[in-house]
Amino acid sequence: MPLHDAHYQHWGGAHTGIWGRRWVIAQNGLSACLRSKLLRYVVLVSWVGGLLMAAFLFFLGQLLVPDSNMTRWVMQISPDIRAFVRMFTSWLQDHPEVSVGTTQNVLFYYYGVYSMPLSIIALGMALPALITRDLASNAILIYSSKAVTRGDYLLGKFCTAFGVMTLTWLGPLCGAWFVGNLLAPDWTFFWHARIALIHVLIFGLSSMAVLSLLALGVSAVSSREKSTPALWFTWWVLGLAIQPIALHTLQWLRHLSFGYNLKQIALAVFHLGRELQTAQDSIPILGQLLRQVPPATRAALDHPLLGGAVMGLAVMLLTAALIVNKRVVPE
């Protein structure tokens, strides 16, 4: 027995706009990605990381308040720590921009850079649902015969990759910033930490755009579901492995790693060298510690290889665009 009237009926409703159709492609891609249990675990781990970061910010915030329970408890631990905390609290009153802004900027640099691998893993797992499966099943032909263009299809898939990275990277980063400052003892923390958030957004959005485009390129390389993630992870791991080797041989080889290039961009966006110099000048204890950092490391932090990184990423993006252009055609 049919569920509905089995006769053909005409439809006369209003059509959705093109952005609605692009959204449908992105939404469908994202739900296809999230059907993977492993990917859901990665999302969970990312958010747990974000919560830990928020808890750490809460802890730091409490240290900056002279009469908080946390400060009283920490000051009981040892006289040295008591001295440090007293200095820290008075420092907040004198230099709130540095104590909150610089601290969070440095913390979010490290959190941003070191939580990126999780999103790269998530993206690798999502690759088959981007273009690979559509190539295997000839679904490109179906998309192309509907009221969407190839550009709409690619934009939808780009948004899928962007969505995966938002769930596993930018979301936890921004969430940690918001919750951490929400739980801070003073509303002014939001204001003082605004630069850290801006840096997170600039670095996060640009890196996500780059990685999403690269992911589209890799997912279009083959129509085999196992090949494209294998290629992605191999490229990533080789990039990591090549860095120490290239440092003593051909330094430009380091730019073959998208991870290295993005790290250089992070250094430039977060102005890590300048922020550490500010901390060194403002906090005596930190100053002594930072003076022990090797000059080569300081130089690397002060002068990131932005030109090479941008050039390297541009070449990668161009290659990805060529692959997509060649492979994503209805046939």
Binding site: P2, A6, Y8, H10, S144, V148
Partner: protein, 310 residues
């Protein structure tokens, strides 16, 4: 017949490298059920793909539903349905999800898309299997699903590329009946591509025969069937030479075919003059095969052109 053509091409050509898949195709097709007939590799699918902008046109121009192909892709495809020959589902989806998704891609809001998807799946005769993943479908189910996704957004014209391929006779009949109803009952123009004369004859009112990328004929089925060249094949037990001589006397072309039959072009609407002649000669025929109509003849010609090229 509506005065506005649904398809209009002028000198349409498509080349793959040095090979011309479509060669200077000029057509004006009016609404109806149109059969695109030709042997495999004739250029039927390429013509469809060019009209849907799935393949770029090498030369010439084309209009679909009054709009220039290549300029207003999205708007055209919103009003057009397409069921390709090959399997091309979106992996990991159940049948009803797939058809819903296709409707959404054509611009239907989700609620309407879901409702229409179920209606169309009922229309093509799919029941509970719609909730199974498409990957597990049989060929017949996939063909039905392709038809459902092609019409789910209520198009004005639907292109069906070999919709009955791979189906058993019963399935073929059901699909062709559904396709026939699309134009006759619901007013959706159907372009049916097939290499099977019988399928096209059963469903279509207009016929376009293509071979090696060229249009050999474009006419109504009625006209093509009515057009006969006044010829017949005669099977005789004896007296071949007598009949040949008598035909020559009447200025009729008469050839002895390799199978021993005589092919006689008597140029009359009926077989009566030929039968009278044989009666006069007292040559009883074992069999008289009337000449094929123009449809069959042109189709055979298309096959021959195709074989010659191969």
């Amino acid at each position: 017949m509506s005065s506005e053509p649904v398809i209009e091409t002028l000198g349409l050509s498509k080349a793959f490298g040095r090979q011309r898949a479509l060669d200077n195709v000029s057509l004006k097709v009016f609404p109806g059920s149109i059969g695109l007939l030709g042997p495999n590799g004739a250029g039927k699918s390429t013509l469809m793909k060019c009209l849907l902008q799935l393949q770029p046109i090498t030369a010439g121009s084309a209009k679909l539903l009054g709009r220039e192909v290549g300029r207003e892709g999205r708007e055209i495809r919103k009003r057009v349905g397409y069921a390709p020959e090959q399997n091309c589902h979106i992996p990991g989806m159940a049948g009803c999800e797939y058809v819903t998704y296709c409707a959404q891609l054509s611009g239907l809001p989700f609620q309407a898309a879901r409702q229409r998807a179920h209606e169309m799946l009922d229309f093509v005769g799919m029941s509970q299997e719609r909730y199974r993943r498409v990957d597990s479908y049989s060929t017949g189910m996939k063909q039905r699903l392709k038809l459902a996704q092609a019409i789910v957004h209520d198009p004005e014209i639907v292109f069906l590329d070999e919709p009955a391929n791979g189906l058993d006779p019963k399935g073929q009949a059901q699909i062709l009946e559904l396709v026939q109803g699309l134009w006759r009952i619901h007013g959706i123009t159907v372009i049916l591509s097939s290499h099977l004369l019988h399928d096209v004859e059963q469903v279509c009112e207009q016929i376009i025969i293509i071979a090696r990328g060229r249009v050999l004929v474009h006419d109504t089925l009625e006209n093509l069937k009515a057009r006969k060249r006044g010829a017949a094949e005669v099977v005789l037990a004896r007296g071949h030479s007598e009949l040949q001589a008598a035909c020559r006397g009447k200025n009729w072309l008469c050839d002895l075919l390799p199978n021993g039959h005589l092919r006689i072009e008597h140029r009359a609407d009926t077989l009566n003059p030929l039968l009278t002649l044989m009666h006069e000669l007292q040559l009883p025929p074992l069999e008289v095969i009337p000449s094929p109509n123009a449809l069959e003849e042109t189709f055979v010609q298309a096959l021959e052109i195709s074989h010659a090229a191969a």
